[in-house]
Symmetry: C3
Subunit: 380 residues, 3 copies
């Protein structure tokens, strides 16, 4: 609206390209850039799309469904200086603002992030839904993810020529989840993560070894988080509650949680795992519950061994196991087999997946379900 700063307009000399972040406009002096990208995830699922997590989910026979599961617009780039970066992402179908963040990244060892974004608490959640190896995340995600939060974060990479090579993240957040405008308690969420880049490479938050590592890349990471609020879980919908924690009074639940994570990529093979612990202290009913879970996941571009195998075809598998209360016997597991056809890396791929879910309960017996899904995920 205002015109007073007009005199400093940067004129004329611009570059345009289509790249890994979509359509990009960049001033020749690289002080300004604007990237615009659309992403569509189209899915067919039968007998239904949701992970069955509780006993009743197994009984309900929802219908076959075609749907636009994710429909995103992503806008990013930098302004004023190359190290002052911005990024926002909006889900058009849900009308949800997902990310809106500013990143001040002057040095490798010290950077600063502000806004709303995915906390780097767990690998699976941090990896974009468009860069997964399977149709979607494992059954662990719902209970353990810290998801997106609003706040500030310090992060960077510390390394010397030897094997001392670490990434770190430290954050403080409102702890009320995506889109919150208030904090129900005075307490904030605290978060930290330390990641050892074993062979001197930060392999990033990405599934599948599409770049076919000649030398192995691997990480081991530890992450922890505490928060006090009315919520017992977080998702793209914001703060929510796990089954059995319907009471939502201000500051009712104190969450303490930790995650140990590994990942490896080598010659078309990829591996990743997470082990989670979460303690929910109910400060009103004076009750304490411990949740735990883990998953193991591997993928392989079989063409690296058998040259007759189609180059774009990856095979991947995951086993996940979730215990909602370590004092009780109930237990849910998931076995998933997936095939990815990479037309253009993760930017344009087709995924076919079969999953088997088994719920073992103390009192109600055992339930199982087989699910088939096929998905096209394309970024433009």
């Amino acid at each position: 609206q205002t015109n007073e700063e007009n005199s400093e307009d940067v004129l004329q000399d611009w570059q345009f390209q289509y790249g890994a972040n979509g359509f990009e406009f960049r001033s020749r002096d690289n002080q300004y850039s604007l990237q615009i990208q659309s992403r569509l995830q189209f899915r067919f699922a039968t007998p239904g799309d949701n992970d069955p997590l509780s006993f009743n989910d197994f009984s309900e026979n929802s219908g076959n469904v075609f749907k636009i599961n994710r429909s995103r617009i992503k806008v990013g780039g930098h302004a004023y200086k190359p190290w002052l970066k911005y990024y926002w992402e909006y889900d058009l179908g849900q009308s949800n603002l997902l990310d809106y963040r500013l990143m001040i990244e002057p040095w490798e060892f010290l950077n600063f992030k502000i806004g709303q974004f995915k906390v780097e608490y767990s690998r699976e959640r941090r990896i974009s839904s468009g860069a997964q190896q399977t149709v979607d995340r494992s059954i662990l995600n719902k209970a353990f993810t810290v998801d997106r939060q609003q706040g500030i974060e310090l992060y960077g990479r510390l390394r010397r020529s030897g094997s001392l090579d670490f990434n770190y993240w430290l954050g403080v957040f409102t702890g009320a989840g995506r889109g919150a405008t208030e904090n129900d308690s005075k307490d904030l969420m605290y978060f930290g993560r330390l990641q050892w880049n074993i062979f001197g490479e930060n392999i990033g938050f990405r599934s599948s070894d599409l770049s076919i590592h000649k030398k192995p890349g691997a990480i081991i990471a530890v992450a922890g988080s505490t928060n006090r609020s009315q919520h017992t879980r977080f998702s793209s919908s914001g703060g929510g509650f796990l089954e059995g924690y319907e009471g939502q009074n201000p500051g009712q639940y104190h969450l303490k949680q930790a995650n140990i994570e590994t990942a490896l990529v080598y010659q078309g093979f990829s591996w990743q795992s997470e082990i989670h612990w979460k303690k929910i202290e109910d400060r009103i009913n004076l009750r304490e519950t411990n949740l735990s879970g883990y998953y193991l996941q591997a993928g392989y571009l079989v063409h690296q061994t058998f040259s007759w195998w189609p180059k774009p075809l990856e095979i991947a598998a995951r086993y996940a196991n979730y215990t909602p209360n370590t004092q009780a016997e109930s237990n849910l597991d998931e076995m998933t087999l997936a095939f990815n056809w990479f037309f253009k890396g993760h930017r344009n791929k087709l995924t076919m997946e079969i999953s088997e879910f088994d719920l073992i309960t103390e009192d109600l017996g055992t339930k199982d379900e087989l699910r088939f899904r096929i998905q096209w995920d394309i970024s433009i």
Copy 2:
């Protein structure tokens, strides 16, 4: 986010233009294009804006209203290949994702569409709200449109040099309407349409003969659809219900419907009509209802006959008749007279319209209403 595919970035040689799809950026090799367009529809209506459809609608005297009736952003183009097209459209005022679709269009005779989009079931609905000949669609639309659905579609044009010239569409959809994330029943929606291009031209989904056809263009089309779900009608708000069908249990209603459609354009004159039948089988109350309706619509750029008539001024008229239950005597009709001033075709036009609605009921007598509307529709 990921950078690994960066090496293949398409650099530098881009073309820019402002055209029929708004602002457009295109790589010189035409592998990538991005179009951005905004559309605003501003309306004044008195004594109110809604079509009076039931007895009570006539009694309510709502107020004079200025409003932004539609406020759209449209983003489209192609990526990777010229025949891999994408398009999304979002209504900013309602925060509704309308379209999000991918089109694979390698050949004229066989194309493939996936995502959420307007089913080509009826002409009036398929024509963009910005390319109508009147301020808005007829009273038929609410009851008979299949509207937007999520699913997949095959379509194409079959022709030989003679008069054998057809367009066809075949689709399978979840059948739960715009924005649905689940299917209430196992059943899917099936749809087909066959269109004969009588004089060897596909005149498309467009009102008004702005291009002044020297040779006549005409079509006759037949379309049909079946669906089982909890819904009895669909709109931009998603699946809904017609008056008298408030019960919405999973799979309660089986809909079977058909449409016969004609259209013609010649020397500034344009014609279109639809005849609709719809059967609603209530599987819970074991009741069956038949609905029917038709409209006839014509427009003329009078300058083609009288040279003193302003070139941009079109006159158009419509008669529509709707029977909500063929077993009962109730009946609603609409007579509309409209004037369009085309500043720049359908991309910038002013429409003035007078409508008369008459409701004849078995038991409550007759009601009528006169409505005036004026509208500016502009695409930028």
Copy 3:
């Protein structure tokens, strides 16, 4: 979608720049332009973010909060002709369409605006939230703003070489607030504003004298508005109600309100004030209430006097006083002290603010609260 107007596409010769309205694309003949801008406002507040307006607000101790307070995308420019301008603004976090307007601006003395936009009723409200001198607007805003409305407006500037220099605005609106699709009554909202540009400069709707006026710029303005509807106040959420006016029947309240406003900028010093009166006539309970309030605000770029003072640092203060009912003794006031660090004018600034609120009630005694906020507002 349609291609018939394609032949007139404007090709190739485009200019690109980054300026006061963000990223801008412009055809060389200047018939078309497109501007895209993102704005993020990130805020930390303690003990909470909301202005305490009623007795209970003071008692509630909400929590410390980091939040994305505003997250906007702004798209504007012109099309077809340089004087046919468009602009829309969407809040991504709230999924609210704020502005969508077309401006026909052929002459200085007569212009025309249509759509949804901020009525120019009061200075504080009309100034963009990104161009405020404090973290946010005063306690007056909630009760007195006319906010955004849908309708049409005439405006312009009348001047001769002497001191006869005026801006005027005249508008007619539905009067149902942002996003309304119906009018609850037949009555419309009427609005007028007359502004005397004392020294022959229209200083616009902007806080802080960032351009360091060598000659003083000042205005005095009078504005008035009437409306009849179910609403007693308006905000970004649309039509709403003030405390004590919970009844919302069609056409229940007739509002008549006026504002006298001053503003001055000179050598880094800036001043602004408003005095408000508002009469609410309840046509159902036959009750009449008068509200009043005023604020005084000043800012100074101290570097203009003391060269050791950092150039980008402004100090600003505001006193506001609000009387919800002139017949009663209750009274709320606000004292605010703010510091702005302008990295890049209002487009990138950091604001730190301390406010003291005092509520004096007839019956419940006195309450006070101290609030601290820090905010980064950046446009990209």
